[in-house]
Subunit: 334 residues, 2 copies
Amino acid sequence: MGCVTTIYEVAERAGVSPATVSRVFNGSPVSAEKTRHVRKAAADLNFVPNRTARTLRRKNSEMIALILPDIENPYFTSMARGVEDVAQAAGYSLVLCNTDDDPGKESQYLDIAASEHMAGVVLAPVARHADEQLLELPGRPLISVDRTTGLPVDAVMMDNFAAGKDAVTALYQGGYRRIACITGPDDVETAVERARGWKSVVDRRQMFADPGAFTRFSTFRVDGGRTAMASLLESPSPPDAVVAANNVMSIGALQVLAEAGMRPPHFGVATIGDLPFTTISPKSVTVVHLPARHMGVTAAQLLIERIQGDPQPVRTVVLRHETRPAAYPHPAGA
Amino acid sequence: MGCVTTIYEVAERAGVSPATVSRVFNGSPVSAEKTRHVRKAAADLNFVPNRTARTLRRKNSEMIALILPDIENPYFTSMARGVEDVAQAAGYSLVLCNTDDDPGKESQYLDIAASEHMAGVVLAPVARHADEQLLELPGRPLISVDRTTGLPVDAVMMDNFAAGKDAVTALYQGGYRRIACITGPDDVETAVERARGWKSVVDRRQMFADPGAFTRFSTFRVDGGRTAMASLLESPSPPDAVVAANNVMSIGALQVLAEAGMRPPHFGVATIGDLPFTTISPKSVTVVHLPARHMGVTAAQLLIERIQGDPQPVRTVVLRHETRPAAYPHPAGA
DNA sequence: CTGAAAGCGCTAACAC
DNA sequence: GTGTTAGCGCTTTCAG
């Protein structure tokens, strides 16, 4: 049963002082015999230490908050697993908070993290931190992942610009020559950077007179991918391939392509981010594998170092992605 | 910045007593003028109430725990969204905990929920509660979802037996006559029940001399579906259709089928649970839609009623699934 | 190595 | 309406 007995009751039963009980549960030196008595009494009484009281006293809890924009996106759940594994191993419990990409919810959870004296927080920040409404730091160790904050905090990132470049380059090498780009909202950093990466290659190859006409900003969701892909297919001179800037957008794009009877490799597809739960052969699509889990692991490691008092100056770690070109190139003519 | 100022400092600055500050932040009646002063002082000082202290005093926090076996399964994240929406609306923050289907982690998180005085918990219990190692109740409102606990607690469930029946029946009506079953571990209740539902129909139709030869117990993961499907295809007289007992197993099964060049409707597939992020036409597969989000919503509602002191006897709510038969039946002969 | 005692910041009686 | 005060259960000096 829950949290009902206190160290006082345990102390009495064990014939020691409350302080000794506390010491036993905190690894402070206590004589073997008393330790035994305390453990026995605690077990008998079904004692579970009251974390609230401990946290109030210590001004520090054993919880780490992971604040994510979208818990339903496998990219972030994969990251969560990475954070969790490291946190658990270091004796911290992970609590996950979903912001829905809403700055209001984000600052609410940051307040809670502070107010609950959590040991630290890993934050994948929401997109829209309009001007003055800067992210409010919780006054305890914080690592940002996936997106930057503009604030001087540790960060674990990937090279979104390079990912965009690599995606389009792999398609080009597969024989495609009119490679469009569908990406997320134009105020989301990762979306913009990946599109910029795409554009840099497209410009260099002089692929389009007007690259803007082959770019679609949409939502980072399945229907965002659908809308964008449909719109591209309707254009006067459609592309022969597309770079989709995130995992679930790719799903939407592939759905629309399938419905139009155009599947890879007839129409080239590169996805930035792994296709979750796919039933099509992954070999038919160029996948820029994103180190989501690894980002989580790294962020958690940095965080724990900070919690333990690491005094290093602020760091940014950039993790490398890995491009896996489609096995089948473009079959002959466009 | 974090949690540094106290009600005492706010009180001093506002020229009132700490109790008044507390009252302002808890909606107790305070004169308009003092309220104004307090709010001003709090804003100036950037005051955030210390939840740890409040919780210690009230023996109740504003957090709800949602303890899930697998945060990476879209079935559960969808459920999480349901819980979250209701919790948020009622003024509770949701913390998600991932047990990895490990009873140890589960009881750890239950202890934490109790020890942190969380307002309540929604629990999707792990499978293996071996005999004596019964689930330990946290001494506060708890609703179980998806799986039963064997304990007298409120529960929100679905009819797994019926889901199994409906899946195989839809395939039968689509013209398939040798319908196998791949399901989860034989100690997971949902897995067993769904398989039992399948068997009841298969028996009644006298589909197989030995139904056991057409059942595969595996893991509730993608590779579990792969292994099971592969094994079925290798059998001396293979089936012409399959019921896959959960969403991600179905993915695995569809992958193996695609690799073997057998796609629906040539080979019939029914999936219990929605296909996440699918790129194949959902119409080609029979989907037994599971009300995951709705289960989350319902569980959260029941929980909040309990938190508010609802004295009703223990309830079990069973939510209805919805069968969506594949659009295309079996093309002629097996 | 052990006990006594002072709070951590807040809320909820209890007086006024 | 408002202030005073006594803890919630724990950790942690400080003595011994």
